[in-house]
Symmetry: C2
Subunit: 453 residues, 2 copies
């Protein structure tokens, strides 16, 4: 029987890949999960690592630990660089190719700088543990630089934090950084007042957290402004350097820029030589397979799947989770000789975002909730979905601590991080004499402009 | 009054520097603490970060947070590169010099490779958070490489872990890695048996954990051997490469080498242009001041201070803690016009080391304890001395989890770590046909040999 077992290869151990693997636990197949990190990452809480509330280990768990009791599944650490769809094998950067009969591609998305990859050097995005600890170090170091300098102008630049893109991640980061400077760092410095730091949230469209209904966007904006966040709508970034950003409404000066604007699918379309939308997401059939390749499935942030109304499904965790489970069930049935033509159907349980302590917005069907009740729902649901009992307890402990003390437990800059951040970028900025955000203060470049969506 | 306040500068926020700062809390002085990390590190538990039980934030706390209520003290993040003892100022790598009236130097020690700095590339030491996460990633990645390869020889090399130096750190690492492979990783791999991994502890002298009495060394060695650790005494390392180490007793093959052998004081002697012992520790007077410079104090791992019997004090946390408090009290009195000539006296409360679960050795005066009671003492004392209530609770939680489940919560390899580890060092080794540790199997170099002390 083992000789006839089919090989199912799953690329990516995120929400999609992991749930595909789990729902294949009873499949008569050899399943291989490949990821370039050894852990599944609970991305909805990654911003809390970047803002020093949680430790990396609180939001990550080894994939092979999660799947340890699933004997039909092995896990390989490796980086996919190509897929050979004629030979049916996955090409890895540093190991032998892996052959498949069925392939499930769930490699997710990364940052997109809208054709300006050089911006990444100045504006890190938040997708991995490395990104989160980098941003954490960068923000904490900015306060250290401000404390050391005697120049009020330099202090102002170090204590201005610009977040580009006001989707849920950008809004959550902005709220958490505002609390950090207003409350957490209070009393700890001698030269600077951390609560005089400015958090500027820059958004290209006319409202924030656009997946939510307009009244909730408005509410979240007011909540952020109560925390001191400067929300600038219809402001499009034209260039980024180590001293600030240029926008269609003038220059915004600040040493620390964080990118939460654009997302680009991993290069799945290139690997599969298939068609993709503008964000690089591969077009898939109603059963999430690739047209002409019923043995290949693409899901999550790297797939362009459509709902019953023909609208593309959003790049959120619940979509990937449901898609992964769907494909796992479908393949299990197929291998049991019970093929099914049931298409994938997304059941939208609702969306949630948190804007600092005791503040959140929730939208379930037509029901819109904001404030403390939404916040409690946010806490409960995130703990519930977090994988691993230890992680649940540890996160609850860190949250309770942060709530009671206004402290954050993971405020670390390591010597290696400090040494890495120190050099050229810390050189002086040419400071413009008190720059108001007036539309005419910076000449607009007619060619190179990009709008955060 | 503020105009006449003296400036006290403390270099280093470790056990010595932090306790000096704390005991200066009532001094009429401007106190500045300078460190190149933003956190105080509880080094006795750092090996538990390297072995994936604890997160970095569990054993580290921002120095400015610890001292936040001490209004006479400021904290600066910066790297000391020199001290100008005539101008009385500290030179930083990347900021303006800092002037002092009194200087307390507590910059600790780093690894020493006995004149072979090139070994560091192959054998990381354990002193900082960066070192700990590096070693953690390296060991976890070794199992991943072993799982991926089909070569039994390569698997054997990846699953052999060589620890050079059997002081307390080396012994604690060996015990924790043996438990990791025997118990924690069990059931998680499909090609390899993690419990077939070998941990080899290499020691140049005739016994391990030499600060302890010989019967406790013997007991700890037996405890390690029960865990499967291969303890090799009187074995001196002559060279290290990416495939193993050469010793006076032959070659030991293994992909992962960890350095726990030598310690060298930070370059304080060079900065102060003063005399130092073989390990770079500056000779200090009975009051821990520098001869001819009553305004400069050196303590902890970078000082060569002697006890009542004329023996040099060991480089352990209690010495640094007591020295820091002593200097703080002395300076506080001095600034109050009550100078004191009381010399520093070390009160040895005893020493402790743990060898895996439920096993430890303790020595208090003439009392020697081993086993469960010593282990409980070890747990209790480490929790007690750990700074910060959140850290105490978090560490207790992680320990309880590890004890009950044999799981370890912080088993992370990030994509950046994996990308960094992948390249040339992962190339094939020239494997010698079954290499016994016979004395004659490798020609000894008469010139370049070094003995881990």
């Amino acid at each position: 029987m083992a000789a006839t077992q089919r090989k199912i290869v799953i690329l990516g151990g995120g929400f999609g890949g992991l749930n595909a693997a789990k729902s294949l636990r009873k499949a008569h197949a050899q399943i291989t999960v490949i990821d370039r990190a050894n852990h599944h990452l609970f991305q909805p809480l990654l911003y809390q690592v970047a803002t020093a509330t949680l430790s990396p280990a609180d939001v990550a768990m080894p994939i092979r630990h999660i799947l340890r009791n699933q004997k039909n599944t092995r896990v390989i650490l490796g980086e996919v660089i190509d897929i050979d769809i004629t030979q049916k094998q996955v090409v890895l950067a540093d190991a032998n190719p892996v052959v498949y009969d069925y392939l499930i591609v769930a490699t997710g998305a990364t940052h997109s700088y809208f054709g300006h990859p050089q911006w990444e050097h100045f504006a890190r995005g938040l997708k991995t543990i490395d990104d989160a600890t980098y941003i954490r170090g960068e923000v904490l170091a900015a306060f250290e630089y401000a404390e050391r300098t005697d120049s009020a102008e330099e202090q102002r630049l170090w204590m201005t934090f610009i977040i580009v893109g006001a989707g849920p991640t950008g809004a959550e980061l902005a709220g958490a950084f505002a609390e950090l400077s207003n409350k957490v760092l209070k009393d700890e410095f001698r030269h600077i007042q951390p609560n005089s730091a400015k958090v500027i949230l820059v958004e290209g469209t006319s409202r924030i957290i656009s997946p939510f209904a307009p009244p909730l966007s408005e509410r979240a904006k007011r909540d952020l402004e109560k925390l001191g966040v400067d929300v600038r709508l219809e402001t499009m970034v034209q260039s980024i350097d180590s001293c600030g950003v240029d926008t269609n409404k003038g220059r915004i000066e600040g040493r620390t820029v964080i990118w939460a604007a654009g997302v680009q699918a991993s290069p799945v379309a290139k690997w599969l030589k298939s068609k993709a939308d503008g964000a690089g997401r591969v077009f898939v059939s109603a059963d999430l397979s690739l047209s002409g390749h019923p043995e290949i499935f693409v899901l999550g942030d790297c797939a362009h799947a459509i709902d019953k109304n023909g609208e593309p499904l959003p790049g959120v965790a619940p979509v990937a989770i449901q898609q992964g489970s769907y494909i796992g069930r479908k393949l299990t049935r197929l291998l049991n000789g019970q093929p099914s033509n049931q298409p994938f159907n997304y059941f939208n349980k609702g969306i949630l975002a948190t804007i600092g302590r005791s503040r959140a917005v929730a939208q379930v069907g037509n029901i819109k909730i904001a404030g403390w009740v939404a916040w409690m729902a946010w806490l409960f649901i995130h703990i519930m979905y977090l994988i691993g009992f230890r992680n649940k307890i540890s996160v609850l402990l860190q949250w309770a601590w942060a709530y009671i003390t206004w402290d954050r437990g993971a405020r670390l800059i390591t010597p290696a991080e400090w040494a890495r951040m120190r050099p050229q970028d810390a050189a002086s900025c040419e400071i413009q004499p008190s720059s108001p955000p007036a539309a005419s203060s910076t000449p607009q470049s007619p060619t190179k402009s990009a709008s955060p969506r």
